[in-house]
Every structure is written in C-alpha cells, then in structure tokens.
C-alpha cells in the first residue's frame, strides 16, 4: 500500500534506563516505531508519550552507549507484524526477529540492533490463484492458496485496503517468493495497489473481519480434567494460575502437543529459556496425531525469555496474538498459549514506573485490567467468506507467593471463560495435572448444558454428578482426618472412596505414559460412563476394610485400562473386567 510517508527525525535529549526523550521535528504518531542511531547501531523503539516537541520513546534493547544528541528517526509505521507463508515452524523473538537466522549470522549471543526479515525472502511457495482479473474483492478476500505445513494458507487481500477493489492482474499458478508481486488491485479511487503474498499489520489492532459469533464447539485438549468438568470452547479463553513448581509449563506443553487446533502459537514471555528448548528440540521429532505431520509444522514460537529485553516482552504477546488472528481469518482453528501473562504485566509495570505514572495496586498501572481484558477479547470465533476460524487464548499466571488475590490473577479471572487453578497441595500430593477441582470453574460447561445437544447434556450430567460426589468426598475426608476412619459410617466411607476413585482414574492423568498422556473424546465418554456406574451404584460392603480393598482393586484395574492402547485386544477385556468388578458388589 502506498501511503505517503513523511519521515520525521530528532535528537536524544534525555535517557534513563530504556526510556529516552527525543526532541523531534515534523509529525509523529503515538506508538510509531523509532530507530535510535547510536554509534554503529540502530536500536528499535516505540513512541509512548508525546508532549510539545518532545517525545518519550521506549527502546526495545539495552540502551548502554546512548549519548545526548544521538539521531532518532521515526518510521511512520506502528509496531507491525509481517504476515504471510513461512510463519509456521519459525521461532521469533519479541520483535519478530527469526532466532535461527540470527544465530546463523551472529552466533551464540543475541546482538543489539540487528533486525532480520521475519519471513524468508528466498523460499518459493506454490501459489494457486482463486480469483481472476476483473473480479471484485475487498479486504481479507482470498486471492489464492499456498500449502504450508498442516494447512492451506490463504493469501488474502491486504487488510488495509479501504472499500472495494477490482483485480487488475493476478499471477498464474506457480512458485513465488513472499515479496514478489502476485496481484494488482484497483481501489475505489482508481489507484493501483501492488500485492504480494505477505502483508504487514499493526500488532496492537485486532484482525477481525467477518461476523463474530458465540463460541459453542468444545476444544478437545486430550486432558480429561479440562475436557470433563472444566471444558474450553474453540474461540474461548482460559487461564492457568499457579505457584512455582505446580506444573504450569508442563500443562501448556501438553496442550501444545495434544489440543485439537490446526495452528498453535506459543508465546514464551519472560519465562525460562530452558523450557523453550524442550519444545524446540522435541516438536520437530514428534508427530501430530491429527495431521500425521510433525508437530512443529503447526507451531509458531514467539520467544522472549526472562533475560531478553523487558520492553520487547510487552510486544511479544501482541505479535503472537496478531499471528494467531491472521490464521483465524483464513478459517483455521488456532490456539494461543501465553506463558506467562504475569511477566507481561510486570513489563507494563516497569515502564509505567519509569513514566512516573501514579501506581495502582502492587505498583501495577491503573490500566492493567483494561489491557488484560483487551488481550483476551481478541479471542473468539469469526465467520467470513474464508470459513469459520477460531482463536482460543490460554494464559498462565504466576501469582506472587502463589496467592491468587493479586491484581494480575484477579483482572484475568474477570475476563476469562474458564479458570484452571493449580494448587500446591495437589502437586505435593503428586496428583497431576495439579488443576484443583475445588477452585476451578468453567462458564462454558453451563452454556453447553443449556444449548448443547442431547448427548452432550447427558455427558455433562454425569460429570456434574461425579463432581458432586467429589465435593462430598472432600468434606468427609476432612472430617475423617479429625475424628478417624473408625468413627465414620460405612456410607460416608464409601462416598469418600467413590470421590477418591473418580479423582484417581479420571481427573488425574499420567503425562509420562504414552497412552494416558492424552485421551480422545470417544474414550473419555467410555471412561465417564464407567465412572458414572460406580458413582450411581449402591455398593454393599461388610465393613470399611472391604470397601477400601474393593476400591483399591477397582482403581488399579481402571488405571491399567487407561494405560492400554485402544488398538489392542486387551482394551475390551480390561473394560469388561472393570464392569465385572463393579457388578460384584
């Protein structure tokens, strides 16, 4: 798109940490990208405050070496994301620099002031046109397709085309690089725009062209405690808060591997680099059970780990969500995993402190809650001519001291549809995933029980009754710890054991077992049917000991069944064995 670009410039007059003040000439925009030319480097920054002829710029890199009087140039573009084929399989930093390429150029360490093109300019993609000259188009209409990884990547009319346009020229089927012109479009004014397979879009503006509808389809995650009592819909939002060591990252990695999404965007935001390395080394080897291709082919990683510049930590989440929305616009189901939104909030806090804004609770800026809400609102289901696409957002939260009363957790809970709270007591008891069934909730469960189909309503009914037993079991367990098992009635002990049984065989899942690590929907249905039989049955026992023995035996048999692949004969045998055991008492 040819906007008239009047570039402005200026000089540095003050600096503190990564906040610099620039005296500028000409016009500049709020959130415009600026480059600071210091010694032989050009450092990227973003305008965050303008006052008279002075502008404050947050620099995305270490500012060591910056001098008064250093030249600053303004780019006239807002912080943008480059979109096009080649995003999948790539690892970016918080400014969309490809890290592999960077390592090839600069070695082990991340140099300052080097910005590489996010999309590879050499790779040729197989383009198949879907429109012809003379066709009338508008923004986000598909011009043609390119196979990329596990999906059919739709090349769309740039999102910044205003009004309607007409195709003047379209490239024939063939192989093209991302920066080569593939179409000419005439807009309403008669101006001709040259279009290639890539486009740029400002990261802080949502990509959402079409009708936004209420998310109704469940996202299968393979994790029973989520799919069962605390489900998430495609296009929904959920958060995973928990103290350190409770397994947030393991849970996110499980979701990245097994959730039924076509594209997964992982944003490693201010966490350990070691965790990203596991994904980087494992995903190219692991096979995606749905597409049969390598997991990496559906994955894009934005990685701004804890020791990388804090200012770019803020942008990393926006870059991730923009890429996800771009794929959603093609009618694809996307899952964005952000680990951790607390680190992102801390980046906001650091900058707010330097700007000397009046601090809110725990020194977080007053706009924390609205920023969090804005982010999660970018999730959703969009119906357009390209099909129905969804973006599900999952954010982990790392509350200080594991205390959920802090501002980031509370602001997040106010806007998400599902809350999976991890607890220390469950992880200490080695009950994994350590999602605490007594504090977690999902609003989607109720929505489905109103509007879902008959089968779904029946399933939800079974889960709710198991949850009720679990709740009762928990209460009895507390009482039992005080007055001893001998003083409890056999009925209470049986309810207690039923709850423990449901917890052990359904809610807990062994991530290290090849089969049990992810359970598909059909199998979960079979499991919950059996669990329901146990919950409903009036067992007859001679005493507590017999009840305990029975449930221990039943639990073991059930877990062995969970570990058994569906494809082998034992599967049905073990299931029958469990049914037999249930009927025996």
């Amino acid at each position: 798109m040819t906007e008239s670009k009047q570039k402005s410039d200026g000089e540095i007059i003050a600096a503190q940490g990564n906040l610099i003040t620039v005296k500028f000439r000409g016009d500049i925009r709020q959130n415009e990208v600026a480059f600071i030319h210091s010694a032989d480097k050009s450092l990227k920054g973003e305008v965050i405050e303008i006052n008279g002829e002075e502008a404050k710029v947050q620099v995305f890199e270490l500012t060591k070496g910056i001098k008064p009087g250093d030249k600053v140039s303004f780019d006239s573009d807002l912080l943008s994301v480059e979109l096009g084929p080649g995003l999948l399989k790539t690892v970016y930093d918080g400014l969309q620099n490809p890290l592999e390429e960077l390592a090839v150029q600069s070695g082990y360490f991340l140099p300052r002031g080097i910005y590489l093109p996010p999309l590879d300019r050499e790779t040729k993609w197989d383009f198949t046109p879907l429109v012809k000259a003379g066709d009338e188009v508008e923004k986000a209409v598909t011009l043609g397709t390119v196979p990329e990884g596990t999906i059919e990547h739709k090349i769309m009319v740039p999102f910044n085309l205003f009004g309607r346009g007409e195709i003047v020229e379209i490239a024939p089927k063939g192989q093209y690089t991302v920066d080569r012109e593939i179409a000419k479009i005439k807009d309403e004014k008669g101006d001709i725009h040259s279009v290639s397979m890539m486009q740029r879009w400002p990261a802080k503006f949502p990509i959402s062209f079409g009708e936004k509808i209420l998310p109704m389809d469940l996202l299968d995650t393979g994790c029973r405690i989520i799919d069962g009592p605390f489900p998430v819909t495609k296009g929904g939002t959920f958060c995973v808060p928990g103290p350190f060591g409770a397994g947030k990252t393991v849970l996110q990695q499980q979701l990245a591997k097994y959730a039924h999404a076509q594209v997964v965007i992982i944003v490693a935001c201010g966490e350990r680099a070691g965790e990203v390395v596991e994904v980087l080394r494992e995903f190219p080897e692991l096979t995606d059970p749905q597409s049969g291709k390598k997991l990496m082919e559906r994955t894009c990683i934005i990685c701004n780990t804890s020791s990388m510049p804090v200012a770019a930590r803020e942008s990393s989440i926006y870059i991730g969500v923009t890429i996800a929305e771009y794929y959603r616009q093609m009618g694809v189901d996307c899952l964005l995993l952000a680990d951790s939104t607390s680190r992102w909030a801390q980046a906001l806090r650091e900058m707010s402190g330097r700007l000397e804004e009046i601090p809110g609770e725990e020194a977080f800026p007053a706009y924390l809650a609205s920023r969090i809400a804005e982010l999660y609102e970018r999730a959703g289901v969009i119906v357009s001519k390209n099909g129905t696409g969804s973006l599900t957002i999952c954010g982990t939260v790392s509350p200080a001291g594991g205390n959920f009363e802090e501002p980031v957790t509370q602001s997040t809970l106010a806007v998400v549809g599902c809350f999976l709270g991890l607890s220390r007591s469950r992880s200490d008891a080695r009950r994994f995933p350590a999602i605490d069934p007594f504090i977690s909730w999902s609003k989607y469960l109720d929505r489905l029980s109103f509007e879902g189909n008959e089968k779904e309503i029946h399933r939800i009914h079974m889960i709710k009754s198991a949850q009720a037993t679990l709740q009762a079991s928990n209460e009895i367990g507390k009482k039992m710890a005080v007055i001893g098992e001998e003083a409890m009635s056999l009925g209470d002990v049986t309810t207690f054991l039923k709850g423990e049984f449901y917890d052990a065989v359904f809610l807990q899942q062994n991530a290290f077992d090849e089969v049990d690590t992810a359970t598909d929907k059909e199998r979960q249905d079979e499991q919950i049917e059996l669990v329901d039989m146990v919950m409903k049955r009036e067992f007859v026992f001679s005493g507590n000991d017999e009840a305990r023995r029975f449930f221990m035996d039943l639990t073991n048999a059930f877990i062995q069944w969970n570990y058994t692949s569906k494809n082998i004969e034992e599967y049905m045998e073990r299931k029958k064995e469990i049914e037999g055991k249930i009927a025996s008492h």
Binding site: I13, G65, P68, F244, L280, R281, T305, S307, G353, G402
Partner: protein, 434 residues
Amino acid sequence: MFKRYNRIERIKGSIVQLMADDIFLGELASIKMRDGRSTLAEVISFSGERVNLQVFSGTKGISTGDEVRFLGRSMQVPFGESLLSRRFSGSGVAIDGGPDIMEESIEIGGPSFNPARRIIPHRMVKTNIPMIDMFNTLVSSQKIPIFSIAGEPYNELLARIAGQTDSDIIILGGCGLKFDDYEFFRRYFEKSGAIEKTIMFIHLASDPIVECMLVPDLALAVAEQFAIKDKSVLVLLTDMTAYADSLKEIAISMEMVPSNRGYPGSLYSDLAAKYEKAVDIEGSGSITILAVTTMPGDDVTHPVPDNTGYITEGQFYLHNGVIDPFGSLSRLKQLVMGKVTREDHSDLSNAMIRLYADAKKARDRESMGFRLSEWDKKLIAYADIFEEKMLTLDVNLDIVEQLDLGWKILSTCFESRETGLKNTWLDKYGQWPK
C-alpha cells in the same frame, strides 16, 4: 584526552549529579576525592547536560569540588587464566594484594544467549554429596537456589561443594559477606586445594552497597568467557537476598516506585538476567549456578525466594544443617539419572526416599507412644543409618560409591523383597547374601 569536570551539583544517596557533555549511558567516570582516594562511578541517566552518576563506593565524603574524569568506556572486568586463585572486590579491583591483571577486559552484563542455540542439558555436575548427587542430581547449565535461613551452614555447604566438585572452574560471588565468612572461604579453599581453580568476587557487608549489586554480573561475565573457552564453570553465589536488598536500597534512594515489600518492580527481571546466564554450550563449556537465598522469617513466599523459585530449576532446602530430602527438588535430574549415571540410580534413590518417608511416620508413631510393629522398628533403624551415612553433608563419595553405599544400607536393614525394587536391580547390585 579525558574530559574533566570540577563541579558536582547534587549529591544524594549513592548518586551525584553534574553538568557534562559528550557522555554516554553506562560510561565510567573516576572521581578523585580531596583526601586522595578515588572511586569509580557510572552514568545511569542524563537529561540535557545534567548527568547522574552512580558512585560505586558511595558518596560519603565526596565534595562538590572533587574532580570527575570520564573514561570513555563502560564497566569492564579483566579476564584471563591469570584470574585463577585471585580475589576481587565488587568494582573488579584486586583485594588480595596481588598484581593488577593486565590481560584483556570484557564488558559486564552482556547480551542474552540465543534460545535457538541452547541444547537440552545432559551432563552431570558432581559434588560428591549424596543428598545432591544421588537424590537431586545437579546438571550442567542448571540454576538452583539453596533456600535457607540465617544461621544454617550454607556457606560451609558451598565451600564443601567447591572443594569436591569435578567442575573445571569455580567462581564465588559473595554479596554482603561477613568478614568471618570471607576468611572462612579463603582458608577452606587454600586447605582443600580448590583455590587453584577458584576466582572470588567479594562484597563484604561493610563495603559500599553499589558494589554488592555488581558482584553477580562480574562473576557471571567471567564465567561466560570461560564457558565459551570449553570450561565447565560452577558459579556459587551467596547471598542473593543481600543482592536483592542492595537493589531495593538503590531503587528507593532513586525514588523509584516500589512494588512488593519495598523491592523494585524489576526484581524478577533483574534476578532472571543473572540466573539465565546458566547455559550448556553445544561442543563447548557450561555454566551452572548454585545460589544461596536466605529466606527472611523462613518464609518462602517472601518476594526474593518467591521470584527465585519461578526462575530456577528446582531448589534445595537447607534445614537443621542438612538438605531436606522432601522439599528439595532438582527439576533436571531425570535428564542424567540412570542415563549418564548407573542404570539403577533413579529407582534406588526413589526407594530409599520412600522408605525414609515411611520411617519418619514410624518415628512419629513412636513419639506418640504407640506400640511399634516389627516393620516400624526396622524402618527406624534404617532412618538412623540413613541420616548418619547419607543425609549428612560431611561426606565425600563418588556417585558410584554412593550407590553402592545405598545398596549396602538397604541390605543391612531390610529383606530384599521389602525394598520394592525391581528384581533385575536386586540381582545385579543388591548386597544380600546369595
């Protein structure tokens, strides 16, 4: 030549302000005081010609008329083989009376390691202490804190590890050390011979607070250079809570808005920038970080241990003079247990801990006056031996000797089937009479 200025306009906390031009962020300056002393200072911010300098040795005694000379370079630390066995202050100045280091200088607080170049760690770091090697194995590139309270022998533990490890180089970063502790380290290293491969960066509790803030950066910058040169480096930091307190003190004196119990909002990032220096470089050396974090009031939710816990890969708890076998966890141990070490390692250590946990319960029953079963008695006898031989920090055994000792203890206390271990291991490594 160097720019000189003779007028300091404002002095507050550890900051002085003067009018100067042609300076840059991070530039070093030297302040020559009236009494002949001189100190280093760093440009931390400027506004027009008004320049703020953070004075490393504090502003005590600085006069408005003292001479300030800008050096045209940023903070550096000397680097080279000749650093080995030497001791330096938080300004990087030799404090052992030895000659100045004339080798190359390196910048501190350098750029971050490219995550795309990291590898999954796979090398064990030996400490010859069973509670680490056998039960919570340390892995090269791991960063792990020792959570402790004041009064626990954490410095003794660090010194012992330095004396017993197989790492090529040991770098000790001391923040807020008491003189006695400093002397203890020095003497221990000399006696154990570890001094030959040790470099010490020491900030004593009586030294200026800015130097405390610099110690971890100095230690890690030097460690990084050695790691690139194919050395396995073990960095020992003590005490990171003193380091965090120095950040707090400086942030408050600079009128920054505190976030939690007075600590600056950047505490997590500041700590992470240090710990993330831990790395295993493919085909070259590595940095492993073991850092003491004292918990004020034994409270793990205090901001310093809490933020640390989110950054590090597990933790050791030091309680009553021993590493607690239950709360302590090395998150990377499964990468080497039974893979790099002997095949029975993982199962044996799990079995021993499980039996010790049962023994603790038996002891509780004993102390409550319940009648003990034969099994309880066996367990209690086992716990006594376990504590004497395994739990103590006063040992120096190779991992293979530790595993053999483990089998020996089990065969003295239990029948083979009572251990719950696989028959394959029992036949191969068990020491029961056949």
